[in-house]
Each structure stands twice: as structure tokens, then as C-alpha cells.
Subunit: 157 residues, 2 copies
DNA sequence: TTGATCGGAGATCATTATAGTCTCCGATCG
DNA sequence: CGATCGGAGACTATAATGATCTCCGATCAA
């Protein structure tokens, strides 16, 4: 349950790759094109293209046209949250259809619905979780989110 | 994104209803049948039946056959977590296909996958969230989960 | 200035998941 | 016995997803 789509997977992989190239030691600042990512991670080229276009439209990456073109992060990896990435691809976080109900829409269960409020709270908690973790966190092997229990794990490389 | 299925919605509504009847003031201990819930919440009867059967199989509710039959919670509402309910209907929590990968299964991206570990951590956090909230929490209007910010709400009944 | 290389955008198709329906069975109680 | 309940399987329709194809405009370098 609660699976994210392949497209979101691809988005995360691509962004991780772009970030690691852009801020890596080898060729910092280099733009990364779709083909390079598709081959590296075995992602269908044209599908990945769609994903990157969506990320570009949502302002997470910058596109550069023409030969030697490609993509760059639009801002620091620490300023790009997992929530932003997922929402760019899959739309707003919504556990239920009635999460972002507009006027005019209607829910058959609404009249006696007994779960809307608690579910919205759960949804909010999940959103906080996803919005508190950034692409930067995914890069360095940093401790990431801890929801409870301050774990006593060893340090990472 | 991350939407739960209608079946899960129905499960949550049904359990909330059963719990409120069972521990309510009017007719405590009364069994609740499928038809009653379906009519109350405008849920297709036969679909709800499937949902309740799944909940029964997973040990969240007890079924009673025959006339005057129906369902009862199998244990206290405080001992039934949202995670258990959702997993009964939709299977194990898995943000990605590789979350619970068995031997033999394979992921095209696995070789250079750079997001598996961080995603598993996110998944774990979400699971904790869902497993720390119970059906009982959904009943009383209790404070529910707080992921951060120790809220200054009133005490529980 | 021309052509190869890039991203942008739209339509299209196949596959899968979901939502919902239909039918028949066995258990139970009055 | 028979009406009322849950249990279980097959089945259909629709929507979401994953993936592909085609054409366009921008860019840069030869």
C-alpha cells in the first residue's frame, strides 16, 4: 500500500544523479542530459524525458537546450524536499479523494463520514515527514528523519 | 499521491462504526451487520462485504453467522492500529516495489540504485506513524499523532 | 547556414490496478 | 424448514499507470 509511482522513482533517481554530478568532485557544474541518466539507471528514455520535463516545469531543475544541453538543479539540494519532488510528479498529497475537495465536488460518504478529520491529520503528519527530508539528505548518508526513538546507530561514511 | 484505496476508506469507516456501536452508550456489545454499515455510509454492499471479510481473516474483527449475525471488534479499539487496518486491505506498506523484494525478483535499477536506502527510511517513518495511531484515537477526537511540536491541546476524556 | 543534438509537447497503446457486480455456498437461529 | 447472515469465487468495467511514437523548436559547432 501507499506505493509511489515508477515515475516518482525515476524522478528521485534522476535528481540524486544530477545533484551528485553537480556537486561532486569530478565535474562540478556540468549539465546532465536525459540519455546519460536513462542509460545509467536502465530507465526508458522517453519516459524519463517526461519526468524531467515535469520537474523542470515545477522549478526543481533548469533545462538547457541544444547540443551540450541538459539539466541542472534549480537550487541547492538542501532546498529540494522529497515532498516537492513527489508532488511535482504525482500531484498533491492526498490520502483520500476528499482531501482537497473543491466546491461542487461531492462525496457519497460525506454526510455521515467519521474518518475525514483523523485522516487529514495523518496526511498532515506524512506531509511533514516528506517535507522535512531533502535531496541533500539523500546524498550524504545523513541521519535523515527520525520520528521517534533517537537511534543509537553507528556513524556512516 | 499516496492515495489509499476506496476499500481502505470503507474499512476505516466500518471499523469506526462497529467500534462506536460496540462501545457506545445505546446498545453496547451489539453485533453490526454489513447491510447496516453499507446503508449508513452509502457503500456498495457487496464491496463492503469483501472488505469486512478481509478484516475478519486478518483477525481485526470477529464474524458471527446466521440471523442476527454480524461483526464485532476482535480486540480493543486501542489495540487496532491504522497500519494494521490498511495492511489488511492493501497488503504491506511499500513505497517501492523493492521494499519487500524476495529472492529471485529483480529490479532493473538495482545495480546503481541510489535511492533505495533513504526511501526505506522514509517508509519506516511512515509505518511508525500509522502504527502509533489506533482506531481508538479515531473515535474520541483525541489529539492523535504529533510528529513534532508538542501541542498544547486539552486532556483526553 | 546547415545539420546533429538537445529539450518540449502531443497523441497513442498496452498493461495493470481498482471499483464494483453477480452467483452460489454453508452456517445459524427462530 | 426457511429466512438471514457471512464466505468465496468468477466476472466486468473503468481508470491509472507505464511505455512508445512522432513532430517541433532551440541551440551550438563545424
Amino acid at each position: 500500500m501507499l506505493k509511489i509511482s515508477k515515475k516518482s522513482d525515476y524522478a528521485l533517481m534522476a535528481l540524486q544523479h544530477i545533484a551528485s554530478v553537480q556537486f561532486g568532485d569530478i565535474t562540478p557544474g556540468r549539465v546532465v542530459n536525459t540519455k546519460e541518466i536513462a542509460e545509467e539507471y536502465n530507465i526508458p528514455l522517453e519516459l524519463l524525458a517526461k519526468v524531467l520535463q515535469a520537474l523542470s516545469k515545477n522549478g526543481l531543475i533548469e533545462s538547457h537546450n541544444g547540443p551540450k544541453g541538459g539539466y541542472l538543479l534549480a537550487r541547492s539540494a538542501r532546498q529540494i524536499t522529497i515532498a516537492q519532488i513527489l508532488e511535482s510528479i504525482e500531484g498533491p498529497l492526498a490520502l483520500t479523494d476528499c482531501s482537497h475537495e473543491k466546491e461542487g465536488e461531492f462525496c457519497m460518504q460525506r454526510e455521515h463520514c467519521n474518518i475525514r478529520t483523523p485522516l487529514l491529520k495523518v496526511q498532515d503528519s506524512i506531509y511533514q515527514l516528506l517535507n522535512n527530508m531533502t535531496l541533500g539528505d539523500m546524498l550524504g548518508g545523513t541521519p535523515l528523519i527520525t520520528i521517534q526513538s533517537p537511534s543509537t546507530q553507528g556513524v556512516e561514511p
